[in-house]
Amino acid sequence: MSKFVTNAALNAARGESTAYDPQDRLNLAVDEVVNSRVQLARVGGNLNQVARALNAGGYPEPAELVRVIAAVARAITRLEECAAALVRV
């Protein structure tokens, strides 16, 4: 994102068009996907902490929670594949 702002600002200062350069658009998309990954990884981290706290308290992890954690990991893999595909374009 900061990279995009920098580019746009520089272009404006130079009096060039601030319209999206195709490469910038791609980079922006990659950043967006990676940001989603960051958010998702944080959620996953929190869920892991919940699971650990339950374990420490002597409770078994609810099957629901285990499934959600696995789903987060899968979603992250998908997002990463998406980012890789964008880079390859």
Partner: protein, 574 residues
């Protein structure tokens, strides 16, 4: 905890293949490779997740690099291993994960809480170390600021050691000489050499400086040591610099591998500032009390060279305590040359020679710090080193007594040097000096054993009224000694005092003089110290001197001042 940043690479997958694969080089096999941490905790781990592949992991690490396309840096892989000391306890994966985060934050790869930090993983495939692999493109597609990463990572490790209660390493100050590279170590192993060329050359150069009075003498010493020399000269013929190589150490095209003096830690400038005074014999101080009986003292040249070096080395104690930093550093530096000269004149093949060579090498670290050694006051010590060197091999039994006293004074000086360094925060230097003192003490014990035996046998033969008289003198003059229960040393002191009295000295006056010297605590009991001091002050002959052994003179080219040089090149090239 030793962090080691490797050469930057250009292939992420290859590094991962090595880390996850079977080991190729000698060393420990890779056991259960897996990730202990990654940039967001969700990197695929081919070691733990059955459907994850190395290719996937490499691709994820490389995402930002690929985004740059043709503008990607030439080398984009950052690699650093972090190894615990063998004495450290087992560290869990979680502990290693914490260490990885701290090290990467210190390096500048990924700061805590930075969403645009570089992508990285920490791979563990052995109990005692992890590997950190990162790609050097940040999320905002700029490069991380890595300048000075090695020093920052080292400092972070010092902190981690303290927090986790691990073995604490001495902090460096960038004054140590360069260690051999991994390639040099492997080459030495393959050729069956006991040590890498760089180490052998360092020692050859260090020893060649001792006693040299000019550039040319220094080069001649190197030549005697069997080292190939490539001097660089100005058109005037003056030396501009030099490099050395070991015979038989060649590169792929068969040319010798040259090491410049600077890279070995002995630039020509450093060598020149350490040249000995031109005329050592004229400046040799003596402080022995003239023998009233007018007897000429016996003993070999080697014996006297050692005995005369004692007061010179003793003077270093005064400088270390009272002098400014530069002079003190000069003395610490010159002590290394005395040690080196003793090492070179010890009879080849003996254990004492091996011990001396080893401790001289350890001590070398203590001679380098950010304090510039002032060499104006060290000519006496350098000249003493030179006379030890030119006086021929020391035959242990004959020169035992003189060597013993010299060693015991050296212990005192090196111990003071260790605390001098420690007080200035020179941790590595202080540790080197402490280790040297330890080894010197051992050497002292083995060297002193025989002369003490001979003397105490003589002491037991002294008549009892005479012994009684000496006992009283010792009681009044050196009460510290009287309190000790050192039977053998006491017998030796009685024999020494009897010998001195027979030569026309006053035992009480001698003891008083010996007592007035600084530093009674050195390597041994006060009584033993008194034995060696009285012998020197009364200029008594070597302990075994009655048998009039001839000094063994080693064969040497007439031009070379040094009698023996360690000869690594020649020995190894065959």
């Amino acid at each position: 905890m030793v962090p080691k940043i490797g050469k930057p690479g250009s292939n992420t997958l290859k590094v991962l293949q090595y880390l996850y694969g079977k080991e190729r080089h000698s060393g420990s096999p890779h056991i259960d490779p897996h990730l202990v941490a990654s940039w967001d905790g969700y990197a695929p781990d081919p070691g733990r997740q059955p459907d994850a592949t190395l290719k996937q992991l490499a691709n994820q690490l490389d995402l930002r690099v690929k985004q740059l396309g043709a503008q990607k840096p030439k080398t984009h892989v950052w690699h650093c291993s972090v190894r615990a000391a063998p004495t450290d306890r087992y560290l869990t994966d979680d502990e290693w994960a914490m260490i990885a985060r701290r090290v990467l934050a210190a390096a500048g790869i990924a700061k805590e809480g930075d969403p645009d930090g570089c992508r990285w993983v920490a791979v563990r495939h052995a109990d005692d170390h992890i590997h950190l692999v990162a790609t050097k493109v940040r999320g905002d597609l700029t490069g991380p600021r890595l300048r000075g990463d090695a020093r920052r990572v080292q400092n972070a490790c010092r902190k981690i050691e303290r927090e986790l209660g691990l073995r604490r390493l001495a902090t460096g100050d960038k004054t140590a000489t360069r260690r051999p590279t991994q390639a040099e170590v492997h080459k030495a192993e393959q050729r069956g050499l006991p040590e890498p060329t760089r180490e052998a050359l360092k020692e050859a150069v260090r020893l060649a400086v001792i006693g040299a009075r000019s550039d040319e003498e220094f080069l001649a010493n190197l030549e005697v040591a069997g080292v190939m020399i490539n001097p660089r000269r100005f058109p005037s013929g003056d030396l501009q610099g030099y490099s050395v190589a070991l015979p038989g150490d060649v590169n792929a095209s068969g040319d010798p591998v040259w090491y410049s003096g600077t890279k070995l830690g002995y630039s020509l400038g450093r060598v020149r500032s350490r040249l000995a005074a031109a005329d050592p014999e004229a400046t040799q101080p003596t402080e022995a009390v003239a023998s009233p009986a007018g007897r000429t003292p016996t003993g070999s040249k080697a014996f006297h060279a050692r005995r005369n070096a004692v007061p010179v080395v003793e003077h270093a104690l005064v400088v270390l305590v009272e002098g400014d930093d530069e002079s003190a550093m000069g003395q610490i530096d010159a002590v290394g040359e005395v040690l080196g000269s003793m090492a070179q004149t010890a009879v080849p093949g003996t254990s004492s020679r091996a011990q001396l060579l080893a401790l001289t090498r350890v001590y070398e670290r203590a001679t380098r710090s950010h304090v510039r050694a002032a060499n104006r006051d060290t000519w006496a010590m350098r000249s003493a080193a030179r006379s030890i060197l030119t006086s021929g091999y020391a035959v242990d039994r004959e020169d035992g007594a003189a060597a013993v006293e010299l060693i015991s004074v050296l212990v005192a000086v090196v111990v003071v040097a260790a605390s001098w360094h420690a007080a200035r925060g020179n941790e590595q230097q202080a540790e080197a000096a402490r280790a040297t003192a330890q080894q010197l003490r051992q050497l002292y014990r083995s060297t002193a054993r025989r002369p003490l035996e001979v003397l105490s046998a003589r002491g037991r033969a002294v008549s009892s009224p005479q012994r009684e008289r000496y006992a009283q003198a010792v009681q009044t003059v050196v009460p510290e000694a009287a309190g000790e229960s050192a039977v053998q040393e006491w017998d030796a002191l009685a024999a020494t005092l009897a010998e001195a009295e027979a030569a026309g000295h006053d035992p009480v006056a001698l003891l008083e003089r010996a007592r007035s010297r600084r530093e009674l605590e050195t390597a041994d009991s006060v009584t033993a110290v008194m034995v060696w001091r009285v012998r020197r002050l009364a200029n008594l002959p070597p302990v075994d001197g009655a048998k009039a052994r001839k000094a063994v003179r080693p064969a040497q080219p007439a031009a070379a001042p040094g009698p023996v040089r360690s000869d690594p090149g020649r020995r190894r090239s065959r």
